[in-house]
């Protein structure tokens, strides 16, 4: 049976997801450059787990397996989660997180298109709450050995040995080969009443934020600009998120530069760039109206900053995303744009107070 429109733009969910995956590549390449290839192991592990879990869940839910496996959405969840977990995390951490993200956060909510929460961030939240210790195994970027912070770097095979068997080479300790994230270090040292300027002179800090990690954030920014240019995402979420973060961090920094890091630090530290372009922009769990996107992203930036500076977790992007995900239906309802010929809003003038 024919039905109109008979023609359609050559595009598909799989292609959209693929472009997002491609946009992650510059960031991943810089990640590998600065922190070694261990991240590729987590990405591979997460990808395999995601596809496996997706297949099992689709079978259990009696849905066609192949079309959904090919849509690349599970891969995207896997990559985003892998990029949020320390590369030296034990293999089962990646597997548990990814399986939880796909099985619980995605499929129990109805699968592709129906999840209220960003699956990757649910996975991350589960891991950081359940296994906080393992979630601190961040590798130090290369080039810091001379700085005396890290005694000796691990070779790739030694990293693999640790990821899969939990074994470190003789005389090496975990503390010696891993480090706290720049955000975490800042928080710890601020608690020791050290002034910001002194803290930022530590070797793990680079020009803007963490040495190496700031470059990775730059890579994500680059990929994000590609997503904007290819119109996969609209400007509203990244601009509102980064803008709000910039403004809030700027205000605190202006008031007390000794205790609050500058705005650029916050933009390039932690998962700000990844969140702004890749996580908060997940179409399924973010608002569909442009005004709603602005509110959603601004709220996420506010929460991110509050969690980072005043909360107990090293970074706030994941929890900020999840908390704002909850508000999405409400935000969408109250930000409906006016319909053609009804410039008083989608519900018309008379029914303004009568929201469904």
């Amino acid at each position: 049976m024919l039905f109109t429109p008979l023609i359609s733009k050559p595009d598909s969910v799989a292609q959209i997801m693929l472009k997002v995956l491609l946009a992650l590549l510059p960031g991943i390449a810089l990640y590998v450059w600065y922190f070694g290839p261990a991240i590729l192991v987590s990405i591979t592990l997460a990808s395999i787990t995601a596809l496996g879990t997706e297949a099992v869940m689709l079978r259990l839910r009696d849905r066609p397996v192949m079309p959904f496996l090919r849509d690349n959405s599970a891969l995207l969840t896997a990559w985003l989660l892998a990029l949020s977990i320390p590369p030296l995390a034990p293999w089962w951490l990646v597997v548990v997180g990814t399986a939880f993200a796909i099985a619980i956060a995605k499929h129990l909510y109805g699968g592709l298109g129906n999840n209220l929460f960003n699956p990757a961030m649910v996975g991350y939240a589960v891991l950081i709450i359940s296994f906080p210790a393992q979630m601190t195994h961040w590798i130090a970027p290369h080039g810091l050995e001379q700085g005396g912070l890290v005694s000796s770097g691990l070779t790739f095979s030694q990293q693999l040995e640790y990821i899969f068997h939990g074994m470190l080479p003789d005389r090496a300790t975990l503390d010696a080969v891993t480090m706290a994230t720049p955000l975490d270090t800042l928080k710890t040292h601020l608690h020791l009443d050290q002034p910001i300027r002194q803290i930022l002179e530590m070797p793990i800090y680079g020009h803007l934020a963490g040495h190496g990690s700031e470059m990775v954030a730059g890579g994500f920014l680059l990929g994000g600009l590609y997503l904007l240019a290819s119109r996969i995402i609209s400007w509203h979420i990244p601009v509102a998120f980064l803008g709000t973060l910039l403004v809030i961090a700027g205000i605190f920094h202006l008031v007390d530069a000794g205790h609050y890091a500058g705005p650029l630090f916050h933009l390039f530290a932690g998962a700000s760039m990844l969140g702004a372009f890749f996580i908060l922009t997940d179409p399924v769990s973010s608002p569909t109206t442009n005004k709603g996107r602005l509110i959603f992203a601004a709220g996420a930036a506010l929460l991110t900053y509050l969690i980072r500076v005043f909360g107990g977790f090293p970074d706030g992007v994941a929890f900020a995303t999840l908390l704002m995900n909850i508000c999405v239906p409400l935000i969408v309802l109250y930000t409906q744009p006016p319909v053609f010929g009804k410039k008083d809003g989608v519900f018309g003038k008379k029914a303004r107070g009568d929201k469904p």
Binding site: M1, L2, F3, T4, P5, L6, I7, S8, K9, D11, S12, V13, Q15, I16, P64, P67, F68, D71, S73, G111, L112, G113, N114, S234, P283, V284, T288, T289, V332, Q336, P337, P338, V339, F340, G341, K342, K343, V346, F347, G348, A351, P356
Partner: protein, 523 residues
């Protein structure tokens, strides 16, 4: 340069018009049989005026307009009517409708044609002439033109001729503008005169430079005939689908937004298709009723072409002229965005048939299986009505029709731009059509139920009132009887007294009955 405005969204599908604009409009040969539906327009069907066996002349009235919104139907050529019966017509429903079958005699014998100078007539007289000439909108909806010219007290400032023709593949208006620009411009002046509008703006998309040039030339050439100080202007508008939607076109050209649920006349604008203007001219200046139109035959054919064909020509004949290729899989009436598949090929073309697209799997590959909506809002970006298609889809799918209505489902013009861009290949428009028809059906049911309830309530009240009145009457009679009895009981004979007692008993019985009936009703 006129300042143009824009509407939200829109898409740029490949136009595919070049195939059918390479050669001039051809005259389709007289077919062996014509099937003329009596319901080719919006509104009431025309009443048949001929019987099987009648000989008719070209242009003879065979269907009388019946009702306020209705239009006349004529014999497209001379010949013999062989049947007036139900036949399959080109309608999405695939249901048959009353048609007159005409076997042409090949003589093309005309009725007496009378040319009319429109300046000597009032708008109302001209409206009647157009109604009797069967002039309806040729853009697709087939709305009787005389109704659109009946504007009442509203002041129309701008008459817009729609020459946008934004749907891919269709080129009948383009070719008509190229070849008969003069008639279009003169028709436009007639329409302007009837509406008493201040200006005529002919909106043409910028992918039709030949048509634009021809119209401009025609305006210059007809300068003396056109009313002084009333502007006629060709407005070149950007090519974007659905720029030819009436409300979108009005928005682009004038910047005015026709309010939801209102008509263009409410903002002082009226809009006609260019082909309609041409027909108006032919009807008045030459006395020719609407007997033929230009139709594009394109798609999977050997030679895409525009034909001037008689109304009632079977589509098979036209497709045969163009030569459908062997791998043909179906036929679409209208464009690839908003057209509908033909229920069968032997249906006749009607006044509103602008295009037949011969489809093949290669030309229009079936869409991949639909994936779930990922709320990417590409549909929102292209929606010319500023709707939230992904939400409407959700409501339609979950049968939340009330919410669909609140989210302005009925402002959807079903242009298909959302489906065109959907990366999940969801047939969104089908969902909206489904939801709309469900809502309409429910409203119809509700109306019937409401009427029944009102009738029932009224019935109840009436019975109640009658009972009450009866009881009151009885009571009054009782009272008078009582007084009469007291006064005259002594003077009655025993026989009379017995009859009196009998009457009393009967009356008591009636009261009992009435009471029990009232109680029953109350139950």
């Amino acid at each position: 340069m006129r300042k143009l405005h824009h509407f939200h969204g829109g898409v740029h599908p490949p136009s595919n018009k070049a195939q059918s604009t390479r050669t001039a409009i051809a005259h389709a040969p007289l077919p062996p049989k014509l099937v003329v539906p009596l319901h080719q327009h919006a509104g009431e069907a025309a009443k048949p005026m001929v019987q099987a066996g009648d000989h008719v002349l070209k242009g003879q009235l065979i269907g009388m307009p019946d009702g306020f919104v209705s239009s006349a139907v004529h014999a497209p050529t001379s010949g013999t009517i062989t049947a007036i019966d139900m036949q399959l017509i080109a309608h999405p429903s695939g249901l048959p409708n009353l048609c007159a079958t005409l076997i042409p005699d090949g003589k093309e014998e005309w009725i007496a044609r009378k040319s009319v100078d429109y300046r000597e007539h009032s708008s109302a007289e001209l409206q009647h002439l157009l109604r009797m000439a069967g002039v309806v909108g040729l853009g697709g909806a087939g709305f009787p033109s005389d109704i659109k010219l009946r504007i009442g007290k509203q002041k129309i400032t701008t008459l817009i001729l729609n020459g946008a023709e934004c749907e891919p593949y269709i080129s009948c208006d383009d070719m008509l503008m190229r070849e008969r620009a003069g008639e279009i411009v003169q028709g436009a002046e007639i329409l302007r005169y009837m509406l008493d509008a201040d200006e005529v703006l002919i909106g043409v998309e910028d992918n039709k430079p030949e048509a634009i040039a021809a119209l401009q030339q025609a305006i210059t050439a007809n300068e003396p005939a056109l009313q002084q100080n009333k502007r006629h202007e060709v407005v070149t508008i950007p090519t974007i689908y659905p720029g030819g939607g009436a409300k979108q076109l009005i928005r682009v050209i004038t910047g005015l937004e026709v309010p939801s649920g209102k008509l263009p006349t409410d903002v002082g604008v009226q809009c006609f298709n260019v082909a309609t203007a041409c027909t108006v001219y032919r009807a008045l200046a030459h006395g020719e009723p609407l007997l033929s139109r230009v139709i594009t035959i394109t798609g999977n054919v050997r030679k895409s072409q525009n034909y001037e064909a008689l109304i009632g020509t079977p589509i098979t004949e036209l497709v045969a002229l163009a030569g459908a290729l062997p791998d043909t899989s179906g036929y679409i009436m209208g464009g690839p965005m908003m057209g509908f598949p033909l229920p069968a090929l032997d249906v006749p073309m009607v006044k509103a048939t602008n295009c037949i697209i011969v489809a093949s799997e290669k030309l229009f590959p079936p869409p991949p299986p639909a994936m779930p909506c990922i709320r990417c809002t590409r549909c929102v970006e292209v929606c010319p009505a500023d709707l939230q298609p992904q939400d409407l889809y959700w409501f339609a799918q979950s049968r939340e029709f009330g919410r669909a209505q609140k989210f302005s489902l009925f402002d959807c013009i079903e242009c298909g731009a959302c489906s065109y861009v959907c990366p999940s290949h969801i047939p969104l428009v089908q969902y909206y059509r489904f939801a709309k028809s469900e809502i309409r059906a429910r409203e119809h049911d509700k109306q019937l139920a409401d009427q029944a309830r009102v009738r029932h309530d009224f019935h109840e009240q009436r019975i109640e009132r009658e009972k009450r009145e009866k009881a009151e009457k009885l009571a009054a009679r009782e009272k008078s009887a009582q007084t009469a009895k007291l006064a005259g009981i002594q003077s009655l004979t025993p026989k009379q007294q017995a009859a009196q007692a009998e009457l009393e008993a009967g009356r008591a019985h009636i009261i009992e009955l009435a009471k029990s009936e009232v109680e029953q009703v109350k139950e």
